[in-house]
Symmetry: C2
Subunit: 459 residues, 2 copies
């Protein structure tokens, strides 16, 4: 957005250290853009620039810098500056920063907070990781049933500064129990002497402070909200969650799912910044498990060693056959995992899915089988590589492909259901996992078909 | 949220056709919950219930019903009811409905719209699919530079009814050019006689009406906004986009990516409702391409037919070796594709990624190679299956695994870069695609290592 046009000019101002002019241009930009401009600078330059900005803006910009930059800056800035900035940060972003920092740094930072902010920070950090409590900010605007529109607007004018959002006003009873949420627009459109209870709704959509952030994200999606209130077990409102944090949660969830589908544990950290030994620890276990399972292929092939020795031509098609099963299985499992993740498919749909996959698998198997037969027929027309029994070999490949592809789609589509039924994560039915599973059975299918079709000729 | 507790009661009211009481309970719920309650009913019952709700609420509920239910209802409801509901729908949701319906139905529906709504609908449908124009709603609140806070609030009171959101007010010049966006809170906190130009910012973050919805989603993520203004090529504001629609776009994008990673074209429709022939058309092409590529394995194996005939034991490890390459390649490509999709990795990072993958690949290869060697040593201690040269065979497997896994991670991680460099979608480097690519080269690596290590003994 920033207009990349302006960027070189700003860079020049930085190089010439014309900080006063730079400040003038910078303060007109949204914090996210200023943060982007800062990322290319050294930690010291960043600190100098942040120092020049109004504190509220500096805190906003700081929130948009990545964790790496934030940590750098905490070291480069003076104690007092750090204190001002982290006191100004919005509580939810501050929690996100603190939960990523080493313990001793956190302790140091907590010392810099004002008593009020300290209490807040400790409270938010007290909620479990990935819970709604970590995501929320305790700044919101409340009103009472017997207040008028005018009273509420006056209240906002008195208390609304520094609240993360004024878009929704929460109606509380005298005990602090949430009874309704009213969009700010309602207050702007109603007569000033109307009482809140006359137009507020009921049954507000809420989040529980101990719920997982993924459950919270589902709620936001279902109700299309930009902000939702958070209540404790007693029904008292303790904070609000805004949708921008939820977008991050949804992205993290999608990232985890994609990484699992690819056959790795979720990295939980950006690819480029995760330390190499840690990344290998995330990747190796699955590869080892797959490798150990895949060893069964060597065992399975061992059973058919005599057949292979008698008709080496059979070995040539082994990779083709088993990989076709693996590919169709990967496809099926991925479609099902994703449909489950976004709530399109529930456990009870297994039978509908199975029927669809039987038809799909049969069709796909027929297509691949036909191509396989054609290829063998074609090659045999021009060479002797498949010998006089090429038609029988072609027929073996044709039948095996149908069986293997059907088996691949079926097991690929049913495995996520099975895992879910057992209370496990369906995404563990990763593409490589299904491929491995299908490889072993694919071999058995292929050689069994071969023994049946080729008995008396090649075998 | 709805309190599943209430659900049986509601169901009873429906069964006893106590519609008056039902209406009383229903109107206290959020539209999304009412829609959920309706889904289990027949189209006729749905129509009866919708008819009883206030029109604005009925339209809101209708927006939350899935496309399938919406189409059903359009048939079940009377012309007049349909007219009222689709006239009341918010323009962006109506666009979403219209773009999914067959042309003749759309024409019918357009006839039912009031002249104003018709103009709006035609205009929004005129923007390309997946563009910001399709996502936006033209209802927003504007103000002028020389208006006071009081004038703006009066303007909102007069014009604010039925606007999708009043959270942000847009400052326009007399030509309708957008010069700033101001959060509603600013107007609630400032003195009433302050002029807008005294406190408005500048450089508002905007969306272009012709941009893709995915670009819009990136903008929302970067700036953490709940609503963004849409401008045309002249800089005039033409509408706004709210974040709830963007959440859907991000989900759709993640779904497409996951489906592609699994080796299928993006379905673009829910798994359970896409028609079977259409789903097969989405799935078959990739499987066929993979199958045709995988045929190269038969060719590659053909080259080594003599070696296989001489040492059948070599064939036993073929699936194990090539699948290890495939699995490590799937893992690497998935990690990189996702990191690219969420902007963690840019094209210029290819060298950093390559260095990381060389180290990862080597480590992972050593781990798998060691396990492979151990397994062969172990089996040989108890059986004669691998003959007297088991150690050489084990060494062949060990070296091949290192080579194959390194090659898998390297090609898996670099392929997304190559595709992106060529202007193609990196997600096309799906797990099955990489696995297939690595299978062929894996065979060559394996048999080359074998010929080298086993020359003079088995070969």
């Amino acid at each position: 957005m920033i207009g990349k046009l302006l960027y070189p000019e700003l860079k020049e101002l930085i190089e010439q250290r014309k900080f006063a002019e730079l400040r003038q241009s910078l303060i007109t930009f949204p914090p996210a853009d200023i943060a982007e401009i800062l990322t290319d600078l050294t930690a010291e330059e960043k600190a100098v620039l942040l120092r020049m900005l109004p504190y509220q803006l500096a805190a906003d910009v700081f929130e948009y810098l990545g964790l790496e930059n934030q940590t750098q800056l905490l070291h480069a800035m003076g104690r007092e500056e750090v204190a001002k900035i982290i006191n100004e940060m919005s509580p939810d972003d501050r929690t996100a920063l603190l939960e990523e920092l080493p313990n001793n740094v956190v302790t140091g930072l907590l010392h810099l907070l004002s008593p009020t902010e300290l209490k807040l920070a400790r409270q938010l950090l007290g909620y479990p990781e990935h819970s709604v409590g970590r995501l929320m900010t305790p700044d919101f605007i409340d009103t009472r049933d017997d207040w008028t529109v005018q009273q509420t607007l006056d209240h906002i004018r008195a208390e609304g500064h520094n609240k993360e959002t004024l878009n929704v006003v929460y109606v509380l009873d005298p005990q602090g129990t949430l009874i309704a949420d009213v969009r700010i627009g309602e207050f702007l459109l109603r007569p000033l002497d109307k009482k809140v209870k006359e137009f507020r709704g009921q049954n507000p959509v809420t989040l529980k402070v101990t719920e997982s952030d993924e459950e919270a994200a589902e709620r936001f999606k279902k109700y299309d909200r930009a902000v939702l209130p958070v209540i404790d077990s007693a029904g008292h409102i303790v904070g609000i969650v805004t949708v921008d944090d939820v977008v991050d949660v949804l992205e993290r969830k999608a990232t985890e799912d994609i990484q699992k589908v690819g056959g790795s544990e979720a990295l939980d950290q950006p690819y480029l910044t995760i330390r190499l030994p840690r990344m290998i620890r995330k990747r190796a276990p699955w590869l080892v498990v797959l490798f150990l399972s895949e060893m069964l292929t060597a065992t399975a092939m061992g059973f058919f060693e005599k057949e292979i020795a008698r008709a080496v031509v059979l070995a040539l098609f082994v990779p083709l056959i088993i990989s076709s099963g693996g590919n169709s299985g990967s496809q099926a499992t991925t479609l099902i995992i994703r449909a489950m993740a976004i709530g399109e498919i529930a456990l009870r749909d297994w039978w509908r899915v199975m029927r669809r996959e039987i038809s799909s698998g049969l069709t796909l198997g027929l297509i691949l089988g036909a191509i396989g037969f054609l290829r063998i027929a074609l090659w045999s027309a021009f060479s002797q590589i498949y010998g006089p029994h090429w038609a029988l070999i072609g027929f073996t490949v044709f039948l095996s492909l149908i069986g293997v592809v059907m088996w691949g789609t079926l097991s690929g589509s049913m495995l996520p259901f099975l895992l879910r039924r057992l209370g496990l994560d369906p995404a563990a039915a990763s593409a490589p996992f299904v491929a491995t599973l299908v490889d072993v059975t694919g071999l058995v299918i292929y050689f069994t078909v071969a023994m049946f079709v080729l008995r008396g000729t090649l075998l």
